[in-house]
Amino acid sequence: MLRPESEAELAQIVAGLTAPVRIRGGGTRGVPGPDAELDVSGLSGITLYEPGALTLVAKAGTPVAEIETALAAEGQRLAFEPMDHRGVMATEGTPTIGGVVAGNISGPRRIQAGAARDFLLGVRYVDGMGQVISNGGRVMKNVTGYDLVKLMAGSWGTLGVLSEVSLKVLPKAETQATLMVSVPDAGTAVRALSAGLGSPYEVTGAAYDPALGQALVRIEGFEASVDYRAEALSRLFAPFGTVARLEDDPWPGIRDVTPFQGRVGDVWRISVKPGDAPELAERCKAEALLFDWGGGLIWALMPEGADLRGRLGEFAGHATLVRGDRTQRAMFQPEPAPLAALSRGLRQRFDPKGLFNPGLMG
């Protein structure tokens, strides 16, 4: 196993590679690949944290937990709320910030605050030739040259091995509240969630659990403001069903898809226009469903090997196989030909020898 301890060593290793490797951060997201492993967890540690400038820079192998602890000490957080895959993947290990960035992993707050890619200010990575490349920086506004930062986020290691990332962080909210609306079906749920998200009350979570018939809405902020908005939203939701304020915090469970944990079957993640969600979810004929992002994200638990993309047919959006046999089925939605050609072209330029997670993204 290859386990560099510094960026320079990483570059040296990559420059000497003759066969493909699977890049591994914490190994928690269950991503398939070749047997040879390039383990990035040796590149670890927060290199800069300036709470007053809302910025944090860390080496790519830094455990997410270490970052969250450092942020919490200053009353701040990663606003995009990255999920912990360990439960649903039944993996062990320590999730790393590089894995979060490489997978553009975002949770419920993505609907309001943005995705991991929106909080990524800069990257350093080693490309397929073993060169260290830097893009972006540590400041919040930067349009100097092309935004390779976004390109690296969500590239699942196929364009380069991240060595360092810099992130915008945000203050933690003083308090939060969750409203629960009892709804009969997905259509009503999505309409209720849309009403909430289209209100001026800054909803930061909008989910629907069909098993419980509950549409859930989160608001965050200073206490008085949260109370005020909770009341306003309760009135807004009254036409859709009975409204109650939940005492428990359901959001970590929604983020990590806990209702699917311990259940057999494939786990899919489908990104759609919220209004299309009820009908598309119907087409899945899933064993279980969970809706996040106001309906824009559908989690589907499917019988093992089921051809979900076939069941969905043509639709505006994409489906990712998160857990399941990816030797049978591509993890990512196949792209239309002209886009696939562009993506292929980029991979060939960034990693001409096809060393990094080959085949993963097409």
Partner: protein
Amino acid sequence: MDMPTPNPTVLAKKPRLVQRLRQVLPADAVIDDLSETRAYECDALTAYRCPPLLAVLPSSTQQVSDVLRICHEEGVPVVPRGSGTSLAGGALPTADSVILGVARMNEVLETDYDNRIIRVQSGRTNLSVTGAVEAEDFFYAPDPSSQLACAIAGNIAMNSGGAHCLKYGVTTNNLLGVTMVLMDGTVVEIGGAHLDAGGLDLLGVICGSEGQLGVVTEATLRILRKPEGARPVLMAFDSNEVAGACVSDIIKAGVLPVAIEFMDRLCIEACEAFAKAGYPQCEALLIVEVEGSEAEIDDQLTRIIEIARRHNPLELRESQSAEESARIWLGRKSAFGAMGQINDYMCLDGTIPVSALPMVLRRIGELSREYGLKVGNVFHAGDGNMHPLILFNANMPGDLEKCEAFGADILKLCVDAGGCLTGEHGVGIEKRDLMLHQYAAEDLEAQMAVKDVFDPQWLLNPAKVFPLSVSESRRAVQVAAE
């Protein structure tokens, strides 16, 4: 600022090109007369001008595709253009290029309040996007000061920001999808009403690519419900350092205003003379705005004012009415205009870590004395995006060059302080030659590799963003392809 020598082979093709383009476009959409092409000779970086070979004004994605296919076949460079308000020379033509303007493509294609999106043609102006959804109390968040004129096309190409992006983000954070035409005429659809890319985040790299990867013809944008209300507070301080420390403390305290704008003495005086906003005369002024219901605004402003008091402000003025809010913003919004009244000015756009603010402002003051040119500072303080405005006299020989040298020094200072050359205006031609100060050769090579993939012949806006010496061999391919 050098531009490449026009390619004589391309220049000689003009009649043939006009003829071919007239076969796919209405007669009035192909502009070949010098008296009319002059209208496209520059953008808002007016110190540099050059009429293009031709200008075309297509009115559909199909027409854009036809134009690009023809130019691709003929090996003719194309410079996309929105409204021409770029401050970086992004839309500056070369004599051998075709300006492709999207101004005629300004329709709203779809508004969908339930899904919180709007789909528009890219020539639509920024403000008229909000205009299209305002009646339903929605808005499009990125608000560049040029929003009355600038087009969504240019906003996407430059990844433009605005005063309120501290809370709402810049263009890239509010862009969900595009229809774009590649240089060979291929039409691609990227993203849409759903969130996040299914494959590589191509949308992310297209946004901010300064018209070098493709011509954007349509865009899907996120729209938001308007907040119930907003209210600014004006704070006056007797030094830049103290104002900078106050900004940092506000951010640390967990209150996130929608905007924190900063002006220094020279700007305050200019705005006062120009707009009569009633600003206090002081060294540094902050405008901090928060949003929400009346009670929420009161609550947040109480917290902010409490923090400000710890920094011994000369004055704290919380707006009491809509008129007073408008007056507080009036000065800030007319800052560029006000500076323009005093003199010619060059507007810089470097970003620095907020913590480096006092040091950078002090150093800019020293440089100002060394160069003998005045500089006013007005900027988005919450995110460290500075807008130093250097005053110079365009009629005085040598003054422009001196101003450019001063500007370059300030931008290098921003980079050295941990920041970057441009926070929202883009590189264009203006900062092209400074790119090597921020990036190593391999870093630029990685960026150029992206252009190689989208536009292998380097025909789209080729002389921008990268230092000419660095992009030379690639641009030579285009000439050799003749």
